[in-house]
Structures are given as structure tokens and as C-alpha cells.
């Protein structure tokens, strides 16, 4: 498999993962390119891997978390905590729901968001997420539980009811 074939088959999924992790289109493109560049530099390992997609996903998540760590070391804590965010009962259309979701995801801690994205977007189980994030399974369960709890506070009541 060549890089071009991989991008043709899985490029959108990778870009989607990057977008959900970063919440920003430009940053997602940069993360996708950085991921592909790193994968390309060791393509013999990627193409020989039992699951090349998992290998590249791991590169993507690790790159993102390492960038975030560097930035976070200089960031101030946010003034609003998720449980202090005002919610509205206004009706949202489908686009509104997704927009609300993107905003809500962007308020979560990076590792919590990554855990949710890997569970609900990449459909990975606890063990796979734990391996990818380098944490224990119990930590993954806790991250997801806390992430869902925070999302409930951030996404207006009714948005997730169809």
C-alpha cells in the first residue's frame, strides 16, 4: 500500500479524527499533514503493520496531545467551568446540534475529548483507547464518564433528543 492509496481510502477519516481532536479546521489540516508526514517517514513499518490505520491513528493522537501539552503549559485555566455554563431550551435544527456539539467538545480537557472521540467516532473499545492514550482501562472509563457528564452540562437540554 502506498501513501496515496491510504489517503484515498482513509484520508477523510483521518482528517475527521484530527478535526474532532482540535476543533479547528486549519489545525486539523496541519495535524493531518503532520501525521501523514510522520507516517511516511516510517512507511515500511506502517505498511507492514497488522492494522496500518490504527498505527496512523496513534501517530495522530500522540502528535495532537504532545502539541496540546506544549501549549497548555502556558495557558490560563478557563474562567467558566462546564457546570457553570448557561444552557438554553431553545430548539436547535440538526446543524445547530452539531455546532453545539463542536463547541461543547472544545471545552473539554484534551485527553477527555480524545477518549470520547476514540470511543464514539473511531468506535474503539476501552482497551484499545487505553493502549492508544497510554493509560489504564479504568482511566478510560473514568474519562468517558466524566466527558459525557460535562457534555450534558454543555449541550442544551433537548439537543440530543430527536
Amino acid at each position: 500500500m502506498e501513501l496515496e492509496e491510504y489517503v484515498q481510502a482513509r484520508g477523510r477519516a483521518l482528517l475527521g479524527l484530527a478535526w474532532l481532536l482540535t476543533g479547528n479546521h486549519h489545525a486539523a489540516e496541519d495535524l493531518t499533514q503532520a501525521t501523514l508526514t510522520k507516517a511516511l517517514s516510517r512507511w515500511h513499518l506502517v505498511s507492514a503493520a497488522a492494522d496500518p490505520d490504527a498505527y496512523i491513528r496513534r501517530i495522530c493522537v500522540n502528535l495532537h496531545l504532545s502539541w496540546v501539552r506544549r501549549l497548555a503549559s502556558r495557558e490560563r485555566p478557563t474562567a467558566d467551568r462546564p457546570d457553570e455554563v448557561a444552557t438554553s431550551t431553545a430548539e436547535f435544527d440538526a446543524v445547530g446540534h452539531r455546532d453545539e456539539l463542536g463547541r461543547a467538545l472544545s471545552r473539554l480537557r484534551p485527553r477527555t475529548r480524545a477518549a470520547l472521540v476514540l470511543r464514539y467516532y473511531a468506535d474503539l473499545d476501552d482497551q484499545a483507547i487505553a493502549d492508544l492514550l497510554g493509560v489504564k482501562r479504568a482511566t478510560v472509563r473514568s474519562l468517558i464518564h466524566r466527558g459525557l457528564h460535562d457534555l450534558r452540562a454543555l449541550v442544551p437540554e433537548g439537543s440530543h433528543e430527536s
Binding site: L3, V7, L36, L71, T78, Y120, L148, H160
Partner: protein, 188 residues
């Protein structure tokens, strides 16, 4: 946790990704980036080797002067500096507004009062660059793209002045400058 939230999350994420515009040439861009990186690494090695051999001795490989091999990275331009080194508490007023820029990369802040914009002074080492599609992007001191015109941002700083006769480097009718004494955050 109720399954409806989880199902909502699953469906929303997948729908969101399906709607993303796919940038062209991702694989080609990755190949270019890797070539640049390797060329830069070789260039750095050549420089290091020449320093090691050093002290005014011309570096030669096989009797020939090596061609420069490094490819220039995407051009970046420094942003005006607030003097804040990137760490430490600001302890100053929180400023919020919409980031805007002139075509030649002069960034300023549109305030919500709509009266006048303010000039911006950034954390040390921050810069801006232009993407191939012509859009501008603000880069951190480590080169990570974080903000673009149109983004709503907040930071700790405070206005240095609000006088009408202060310099207006962007030529947009700005009054005063807001120095950033914290990392600016993009708001939803």
C-alpha cells in the same frame, strides 16, 4: 449515562466529518513536507559538520563545495511583541473581541462595543504566516497555528491607552493597543 446522549454523540461526530471539505493533495503535501524536513536536517548536519571541521576551513565533499540543500520553510513574520515571555500570571483585565487583519498581515481586535478597534501586542515569539489559499494564520512561538481572522478571542492584558492620537499601525482607525499578558484563547 443514557444511551441517547451516546447515540447523539456517535451520529453527530460522523455527520460532522462527512460534511468536512476534503483538502486536495494531502499525500503530495506530506511528501513535500518530509522532503523539506530531511533537506533541513541534512542542511543542519552540513552546518554542524562545517563548524566541527571549522575555524575558517572551507567545507568540501569530494573536493566540491556542497550546494545548499535546505528548502526555506513557509515564510513567517513576527508579530508586535507585548514583552510577555509566555509564562507567569497576567493579573490584568480580560479582553475579548474578534480578531481581524489587514491584507498585509496587520492584526487588530474588533471590540464588541463597535466603536473602534485596538491594535494588538502578542506574546514573545509569536508570528503570522499566509497559507497557500491566501488566508492568514497566527502561529505560537513554537510555530503551531492557533488563530485566524474572524476568531473570537480572549486574553489577559488591558489597554495601554485609549487616546485618539495614538499610533494606528494597521491604519484601521484603531485607538490604543492591547498587550497580551496571557496566551490568547479562541472562544466558541
Amino acid at each position: 449515562m443514557s444511551p441517547d446522549v451516546e447515540e447523539f454523540l456517535r451520529e453527530s461526530m460522523k455527520a460532522e466529518v462527512q460534511a468536512l471539505p476534503m483538502p486536495p493533495g494531502l499525500a503530495a503535501a506530506a511528501r513535500r513536507r518530509l522532503r523539506r524536513r530531511r533537506a533541513t536536517a541534512v542542511g543542519a548536519s552540513v552546518v554542524a559538520a562545517s563548524v566541527a571541521i571549522g575555524l575558517g576551513v572551507a567545507t568540501t565533499i569530494g573536493g566540491e563545495t556542497p550546494e545548499p540543500v535546505a528548502t526555506a520553510p513557509a515564510e513567517t513574520h513576527p508579530l508586535p511583541d507585548s514583552g510577555w515571555p509566555g509564562s507567569g500570571l497576567a493579573g490584568q483585565a480580560r479582553i475579548e473581541g474578534v480578531l481581524a487583519a489587514t491584507e498585509d498581515g496587520c492584526f487588530y481586535l474588533e471590540l464588541d462595543d463597535g466603536l473602534h478597534p485596538v491594535s494588538l501586542l502578542w506574546p514573545q515569539g509569536w508570528s503570522w504566516s499566509e497559507r497557500p489559499d491566501g488566508t492568514l494564520v497566527v502561529l505560537t512561538d513554537r510555530g503551531y497555528p492557533v488563530l485566524s481572522p474572524g476568531d473570537r478571542i480572549e486574553f489577559g492584558g488591558g489597554f495601554t491607552t485609549n487616546e485618539p492620537d495614538e499610533p494606528d499601525p494597521c491604519g484601521v482607525g484603531a485607538r490604543g493597543a492591547a498587550p497580551m499578558n496571557s496566551v490568547p484563547r479562541k472562544l466558541p
